[in-house]
């Protein structure tokens, strides 16, 4: 699976430079391998450790600055682990039109968390996202990569419970 969004707490491995080097080697031969490598690392470890930067740079014969630049340019990549569950809330216009802004205020208050933040118990990380292609059934969210439509506080709580089961 390509996307870190599928990674759940249980399936994530602790950072391991040797394991990372193996993953990098698997993809290094591909044209423009940087993004596939970063995705694969994040999928495995839940984030991309700073130690990976020189490993990727060496494998692809690029400068560390180039790899670091990519890591910071793209919103997807995390520099530290997320909570056990990741909730991506759509903040774009079609969801705004059905009350997403007010809902998001409620969500942030209920879970006592800020955008990009993780709840104190490490359970949930909340990320903003701009459109999930679920614009006719908003407010929309991805909970650990699984789409949820017509979101409200209850359906969000249900989705989180379902993911934990």
């Amino acid at each position: 699976m390509p996307s870190h969004e599928h990674a759940r707490g249980a399936s994530r491995e602790p950072w391991d430079a040797g394991r990372a080097a193996g993953i990098i080697a698997e993809h290094a031969h591909r044209e423009g391998a940087t993004l596939p490598i970063l995705h694969a690392l994040q999928e495995t470890f839940g984030y991309v450790d700073g130690e990976a930067v020189p490993l990727i740079a060496d494998a692809l014969n690029l400068s560390r600055a180039e790899i670091h630049g990519c890591l910071t340019f793209y919103h997807d990549f995390r520099a530290e682990p997320a909570g056990r569950h990741t909730v991506k809330l759509c903040r774009a216009e079609a969801c705004q039109a059905v009350g997403a802004d007010a809902l998001h205020e409620d969500v942030l208050r209920r879970y006592d968390v800020a955008w990009h933040g993780t709840t104190r118990d490490g359970r949930v990380t909340v990320e903003p996202v701009f459109c999930l292609g679920l614009c006719a059934c908003g407010p929309a969210a991805l909970v650990d990569g699984e789409p949820v439509g017509r979101l409200d506080l209850d359906t969000l709580a249900d989705a989180l419970t379902e993911r934990a089961a």
């Binding site: 423009g32 340019f73 774009a92 039109a97 059934c137 789409p147």
Partner: protein, 520 residues
Amino acid sequence: MSITLYLPKDAASLALGADRVARALTRAAQARGLDVELVRTGSRGMLWLEPLLEVATPEGRIAYGPVRPGDIESLLDAGLAEGGAHRLRIGRPEEHPYLARQQRLTFGRCGIIDPASVEDYRAHGGYRGLEAALAAGPAGTVEAVKASGLRGRGGAGFPTGIKWNTVMLAQAPQKYVVCNADEGDSGTFADRMLMEGDPLTLIEGMTIAAVAVGATRGYIYCRSEYPHAFAALETAIAAAERAGFLGADVMGSGRAFHLEVRLGAGAYICGEETSLLESLEGKRGIVRAKPPIPALKGLFGQPTLVNNVLSFAAVPWILEHGGPAYAAYGMGRSLGTLPIQLAGNVKRGGLIETAFGLSLREVIEDFGGGTGSGRPLRAVQVGGPLGAYFPDTLLDTPLDYEAFAAKKGLLGHGGIVVFDDTVDLARQARFAFEFCAAESCGKCTPCRIGAVRGMETIDKVLAGESPRENLALVTDLCEVMTDGSLCAMGGLTPVPVMSALTHFPEDFSGRGAKLPLAAE
């Protein structure tokens, strides 16, 4: 006797509980000892009816929706297998007015076939376009696309045939075909629906393109917000390879075409084609100056054909039926069909593929049934985050590239977002700046700095701080961004802002309104 049922598994149906319905169905069928074959399809695009369950009967498919897990027992009791009466019964889906009034050329198979099956695809007319293209040869194929009048569906509306011709004529050791599946525009989901519901149509379209322009490698750049589309594409590509429609020898033609999906990483700007190419090369998605155009110097410096998902996906139909047949649909210089995506605060949102030329009002009222909240409609944003906000008085504008441009708007990728009278257009204008500030690639000052200044200035207006002077400042800023930005991110952000200001000035009166949530 075996019953064949169809249930979508595209992301929108899943978001509305399709998997829970599938589980309930399997359980109930087991308990009753029924022999059920459940085919997971894409969505027909009537999203208020999802999950839409269909059953194969001698009279054709009969649909029920929206189905909840708790409806399964009563559906089976009502004789679901024979298409029995039930309060959720829709009847034959193709006779539903929402679908019956459409012209589904590109989406003809979406929601009907198993997206992972080449056999099913062929049984529904798949790969006839490629057959025709191989018979017509590269020049003949490009000619057909030119004759169709197809214009790029990614937003800019550039004539597709002309671009194909440029890449075909370019001389280089390696050429590429790249599909822009970044679909970042809010309010749009047609690319996603097609990739999840009928990915082989996109793959066939790209294969036709590759043969026509002489490319042996192709990439689909799919946004990471679409994990299900990504998975559907990987499955379909593998199936097409196994069946000999991709790989070293496409359909026994002796031509090679290797296709791969790549995942974006959450950057809106990577939908801009040169930024996308940078990203595919493994770099930050910084926009390239044009010229050189990607058709001559694109991916890794080689001639590259970049088209949107829907542009490629229109091509199999065009090759099968001929360019003029496609051009017979539409109006003016907007020919063929436009897959419209109706979204936001609307009763019946979904995918509406029709010839260009319907008015916004027909789409929103006749198809959409008005606002979802039942409150009066106040504004409509067409064409994504860089599109204009139109008031009710502009709803008679026909869906046509030129007609929209004349009203200082744009059709973009065909997304229509409906807002009721609770919308605050000053807040929407602020959001346009905020979005641009968050997603700018940072290469040019008017976009990078202008967006932040714009946001701050609107905040001052909203706080009641010299509103007239500050609004004049916003207008000036918009002019600078329009004239001085390298790409349409900075260049078109003024469109939503100025349309809000022009059509809804009363929302900018500086009444000290509550400020939106803090920017990220």
